[in-house]
Symmetry: C2
């Protein structure tokens, strides 16, 4: 790299994070004369676009996640399970709790997590959806709400009103709300004796004037209409001002809720701040046009953790295609360094956007082409299955999907872990009771 | 039932436990003029014979478990999620934490759990395998052991000796040990850079003189030979006298272990003792020949919780076929009561026994016919896939199996939850170190 090094020793590239950006960078770099070390705090890559399917019991965790070690098997990539604590940019070291890993190049692709607008105390009351563990917890809460309502009703307590509240009308909030409505109205409809799952209200709260704010207005309108057809109550221009056990506050209004899901805010990984460079309001690192860290050409920041404006002056969104293209671009720039070529700036090629809403419901934008409904949903389905990692996973997911499309069954309806909802007793209050069962 | 009742009111049959026995009883009773309430503390039925596949990352939890509510859908069966605390046999009530459910007939099929020979403090150190949660925890420990060994080795610490110790040489111990050997020697062999997974030792400890003690001697010998071929060290007549974090004690001998799995003892559900009838040493209820509770013809105890000797004077084993046949027999006896016919005693029809050991390795006994190896394994495979509940599950499991048979991949290698092994630091001790990596 710098000519002085022993040419026996290939440069170390350390990649932090096994999401889309980090994984693509690692796979691309395997063709270059470097040693790659990929560090992640999980042993698996999670295909985040399908996480909502795990949260809503359509897919099993193992179908949308694959061991990072297996994905990069047979390549020049060392995988380490560990949580990065800090960086030493002077000595060029990545610090884990017990070891420090030296690097020549560092690619930080640590992603993002939920943000609660400064109210971290809301997190246990209203979980977000970023990891497999989050998805399992949401699935547990949703299924448990029906089970506990059934038990109370069977004990002669009458049917409590089950409200599921989703906070945030972006793609994650929309797909969660749409799928929950399908579960309540179709999947579980005939399996309960004492309660009627169809009475469940699914309420989507969005602070701005329309759902899917990053999409064109006509697609937002279409998405809202498709949500309503699925049975979701959409409330736009509605700001959540507080979260309590089993209730959401909006100013002076109070909405009781058996389950509250958070899809409203995103905060970049706290690792961004450890790099010492300026970050934006969401904690994203302001990177150079080649995605390198200001003052540190040997350090790159990519994916949801990077803040970069595109040619048109718009901030690049935190979506998989951006991270994937940035991972590739970074691998290429490192290869250019090694072969003495100049680096190239990163430019995002927008191939379109897809957001799913529910069964046969979606919106899609490909340049000037805006589509809605079944065709958009089919496009979404095939794009996502195509990009899912591992042939076996693709096959399994396709079978699951076909199966549940025709039967309305959801195959992964397991409640694991605790079967008590700490916040549940609230729901027994008088105000939440719908009727007494005729006994 | 007793003539005095209002014939508008069908008798309530309450079934406690949604395992094989309880589920079969519920399905059979759906054809009788009764109301059935099935209570389980999980929302899903677990296909226990394949639990070891979840523990060893071959199958996902959702593939061997199905919601009880879904299994009995469309039938005259009310399903309640809840943990039974006690019974009131006089008032004929089943008590949950918050409600009491009245019954006319009670079927207790609460199953069994692990027994640690009076040393419950060993349980967190050496988990057993009875639930989906147990299987996920075992999978976490096994995969994490390799990951942490890799991290230490990558940090220049050398390769620690990974020992996996399985305590108990019954069917569960044998299949766990055989499959762990396959994982270490084949599945993970090429995915690690700093350690060699093939150096992992899998040690199976059995207190008696042979593995699979319930099988004929020739099949025990064959099973032991097949285990050795898979790379398992089998130590028979070896009593475990203590379990420590990361070590098993056998008298004065001490065997260090990264993971310890417990497959040695079974204890019946504590609910057995709440029925007030005599129990055997393992806590199983001594039932009448028609499976009813002595003194309470309206209460039946079936499956692993029941203690009954067969015609030949042998205690019936705690296996799925016994529970299934007892569930059917109990449903028939309740139907006979209702139509005024006399009850029939239960007799077990032994159709054979199958125990799997690993890939293409198994033993089977069908009466006088004893078979081993590939044919036994194929029989085991088809019997188990055939009895797996739900067509979708059968299809998915068959695909998974075919896939991993030909590729040696295991699709469900997720570590979820905590990525720290509390007992791990023990392994860094000098004695456990194999070699220092040439750096």
């Amino acid at each position: 790299m710098d000519g002085k090094r022993d040419n026996q020793r290939a440069p170390n590239v350390v990649i932090v994070g096994g999401g889309f950006g980090g994984l693509v960078a690692a796979r691309k770099l395997a063709h270059s004369p470097v040693r790659v070390t990929l560090i992640d705090r999980k042993n698996h890559h999670t295909f985040q676009p399908l996480l909502y399917q795990v949260a809503t019991a359509g897919l099993s965790p193992g179908e949308i996640a694959a061991p990072i070690r297996w994905i990069v098997r047979g390549r020049n990539v060392e995988v380490l399970l560990g949580e990065v604590q800090d960086f030493d940019l002077e000595r060029r070291m990545v610090k884990l709790s017990d070891v420090a890993i030296p690097y020549d190049y560092l690619v930080v692709a640590a992603g993002a997590s939920h943000a609660y607008f400064g109210h971290d105390e809301w997190e246990p009351l209203a979980p977000g959806l970023k990891t497999i563990e989050d998805a399992i917890e949401i699935r547990r809460r949703v299924l448990l709400a029906f089970e506990l309502a059934e038990r109370f009703a069977a004990g002669g307590e009458g049917q409590v009103q089950l409200n599921f509240v989703v906070v945030g009308g972006g793609p994650t909030g929309v797909e969660l709300a749409g799928t929950l409505a399908e579960i309540a109205r179709r999947v579980l409809a005939d399996e309960f004796h004492a309660i009627d799952p169809k009475r469940t209200r699914i309420i989507l709260l969005e602070g701005g004037p329309r759902v899917l704010p990053a999409y064109p207005e006509d697609l937002s309108r279409s998405a809202e209409e498709q949500l309503r057809q699925l049975g979701v109550e959409v409330r736009t221009s509605t700001l959540v001002t507080g979260v309590e056990p089993s209730a959401v506050l909006m100013g002076t209004a109070r909405l009781s809720a058996a389950v509250i899901l958070w899809a409203a805010g995103v905060a970049a990984s706290p690792l961004g701040k450890r790099l010492g460079a300026p970050v934006d309001r969401a904690g994203r690192v302001l990177v150079n046009p080649d995605l390198s860290l200001p003052g540190h050409p040997e350090v790159f920041v990519i994916g949801d953790l990077a803040s970069l404006k595109d040619r048109n002056g718009k901030l690049l969104p935190g979506v998989a295609p951006v991270a994937i293209q940035q991972g590739k671009a970074t691998a290429r720039n490192i290869a250019r360094d090694l072969s003495g070529e100049p680096r190239k700036d990163f430019h995002y090629l927008d191939k379109g956007s897809l957001a799913t809403i529910g069964r046969a419901a979606a919106v899609a934008q490909f340049g000037q082409l805006h589509i809605s409904g079944f065709i958009a949903w089919l496009s979404w389905l095939f794009v996502h299955i195509f990009f899912l990692i591992g042939f076996r996973n693709r096959l399994m997911v396709l079978i699951q999907w076909a199966w549940s499309y025709f039967t309305y069954e959801r195959g992964a309806r397991l409640i694991t872990g605790d079967t008590q909802l700490p916040s549940w007793p609230e729901l027994q209050g008088e105000e939440a009771k719908v009727h007494e069962r005729a006994s």
